[in-house]
Symmetry: C2
Subunit: 281 residues, 2 copies
C-alpha cells in the first residue's frame, strides 16, 4: 500500500501528517515562522518516519497551480512577510524525493469534506472559511476549480449600506469587499471587541449574517452548489447558521433554490486531510 503524507501550510501554523484518512492520522503541528525554518521542520517530520510515496500540500495563497508554469507550486504574491515567491512544493518534493500535489487550503478542505466529512456523495460543494480572512474552495461536478489562478471568494464585492453600517471595511486591497466587511478583523474593528466577546443577541450578528448571505447568494448564482460548508473562527458562533439561512431567503427571494448550509465535520484536520486527499485526486 502507498503511504501518503500531507502538509497543511497555514499562515499561522503548519500541520504535517501521514495516514490514509481521519482514523489513522499521525500528525504534528508547529507555528509558521520563516519559510526555511518552517519547511525545514516539515521535512524533518517526514524524514524521521517511514518513507512516504507521495506528498500533498494544502497551502495558504496565492499559489501557482498551473503545471506548465515556471513557478508551479510557489506561494506567489502573499502579503505574509518573507513568504513571497516561496517554492514550497519544489523544496519539499526535492528534499523528500517524492511527487508533490499542491492546492489551496480551501480547495483541499472541500476535497477532504467530500471524501470523509459533511459533503460525502456531493458533486457540487463550496467550502468557506470565515476567520482572519475569508477564503473559499469548491468542487464543480466533483472536480476542484483552478482556472487562471484559483478562486479568491473572500474578495467578492457585495452591497454595503453605509447608512446602516458606516464601517469602511478592513480589506487592504478593496476596503468593503466580503472579507473587508465580514471577516474576524472587520467585526473587531467595527464593534471594538472580538467576535467571541459579542453576545449572541448583539446586532453585530444580524449584520454579519446579511453580509455572509450576500456572498453566499452570489456563490449560489454562479456555482449552483448542492451544499455550502462554512467553517473558521467566526463560524464557531453556531447561532450564525440560522441567521444566515434567514438572510439567504431574503437575498434570494424565491428566485433560485437555496442549497443546504452547514458546518464542516473534520475540524482542525480538514486542511491536512485535504492535502492527503489531493494526492491522486
Amino acid at each position: 500500500m502507498h503511504l501518503i503524507g500531507g502538509v497543511e501550510a497555514g499562515g499561522t501554523k503548519f500541520v504535517c501528517a501521514i495516514g490514509t484518512g481521519p482514523e489513522d492520522l499521525e500528525r504534528v503541528s508547529f507555528p509558521t515562522t520563516t519559510p526555511e525554518e518552517t519547511i525545514g521542520r516539515a521535512i524533518d517530520f517526514f524524514r524521521e518516519r517511514p518513507r512516504i510515496d507521495a506528498l500533498g500540500i494544502a497551502s495558504f495563497g496565492p499559489v501557482d497551480l498551473r503545471p506548465e508554469s515556471a513557478t508551479y507550486g510557489y506561494i506567489t504574491s502573499t502579503p505574509k512577510e518573507g513568504w513571497s515567491n516561496t517554492d514550497i512544493a519544489g523544496t519539499l518534493g526535492r528534499a523528500l524525493a517524492v511527487p508533490v500535489t499542491i492546492d489551496t487550503d480551501v480547495n483541499a478542505a472541500a476535497l477532504a469534506e467530500a471524501r470523509w466529512g459533511a459533503a460525502q456523495g456531493v458533486s457540487d460543494v463550496v467550502y468557506l472559511t470565515i476567520g482572519t480572512g475569508i477564503g473559499g474552495g469548491a468542487l464543480v461536478g466533483g472536480r476542484l476549480i483552478h482556472g487562471l489562478v484559483h478562486p479568491e471568494m473572500g474578495h467578492m464585492r457585495i452591497p454595503h449600506d453605509r447608512v446602516v453600517d458606516p464601517f469602511a471595511g478592513s480589506c487592504v486591497f478593496h476596503g468593503d469587499c466580503l472579507e473587508g466587511l465580514a471577516a474576524g478583523p472587520a467585526i473587531e474593528k467595527r464593534w471594538g471587541v472580538t467576535a467571541r466577546e459579542l453576545a449572541p443577541d448583539h446586532a453585530a450578528w444580524r449584520l454579519e449574517a446579511r453580509y455572509l448571505a450576500a456572498g453566499i447568494a452570489n456563490l449560489v448564482c454562479t456555482l449552483s452548489p448542492q451544499l455550502i460548508l462554512m467553517g473558521g473562527g467566526v463560524m464557531d458562533q453556531a447561532h450564525l447558521f440560522p441567521l444566515i439561512r434567514e438572510e439567504m431567503c431574503e437575498a434570494v427571494n424565491g428566485y433560485v433554490a437555496i442549497p443546504e448550509i452547514g458546518p464542516p465535520l473534520l475540524g482542525s484536520n480538514t486542511g491536512v486531510l485535504g492535502a492527503i486527499a489531493a494526492v491522486g485526486s
Copy 2:
C-alpha cells in the same frame, strides 16, 4: 456519420438547425409563441428533413437538468406566460424518437464558443449575455457547471451607490441585483431611452461598465476563468469593452489576475451551435 439536430429555445425566438458546425448549418428561426405551436414548428422542421440521430436543446431557463428528476428536461418556473412546466426535452424527444441533451442557452453558448469560437482551447471560460436580462454559463476545467440547478449569474448582488445612482433597479425578484441594475431594461428605465439611443460618451456607459465590472470581478473571484465572453444586445456597443476593462482594474485593485474579456465570435448561431455541441459532450 451521425446527423445532429439543435434547437435554441429562446424567450423571443426559436432557432432549429441540422449540421456539424458553423460551416454547414441548415437553420430556420421563428418567433416563440405558445409551447404547442412553437415546439410543433420545431418538430415539423426536423420531420421534413433527413432523420437526425440525436437532438441538443439550448433553452431559456430555469430548466431542470437533473437526469434523476421526474421533471428532467422541463422548463420549470419561468415567468414567461404559458411556458411554466413545459416538458420541452420530452416532447421533442418523443416526437422525433431521438435521444435528447438539454442545457441552458448560456451554458450551451459557452460550449459552442469553446468548440468553434473565441474560447477554443480554453478550459475555464464564462459566457455572459447582457440583453433583456443577464445570464451566464461557464466551463470549469472543460466541463459545464450544473450543480443543484444551474447558474443564474444575472442575479448576483453587487454594490449599488444610491447617491450616484438613485435608480432602484428593475429586477422583479431582487430590485438592484446585477440584472436589475445593468440589463437593457434597467438602462432604458434609468435614462428614459434605449441603450442604442445613448451616445458613446454618455455617462450611462461608465456606470454600466462599473456594474458589469463588479459582476465580472465576482465571477473572477469565484471561477478564476481564463476568458470572459460578453455578448447580447447591450454589448453591441463595442466601446463598453475598454470601459469594462478599466473598471475591472479598479474593482480588483491588483489583487487577482484579470482574465481576457472580449466578445463571442459565433453571433446569432451561438445558441443553436451550443445545442449541437451539447450532444455527446
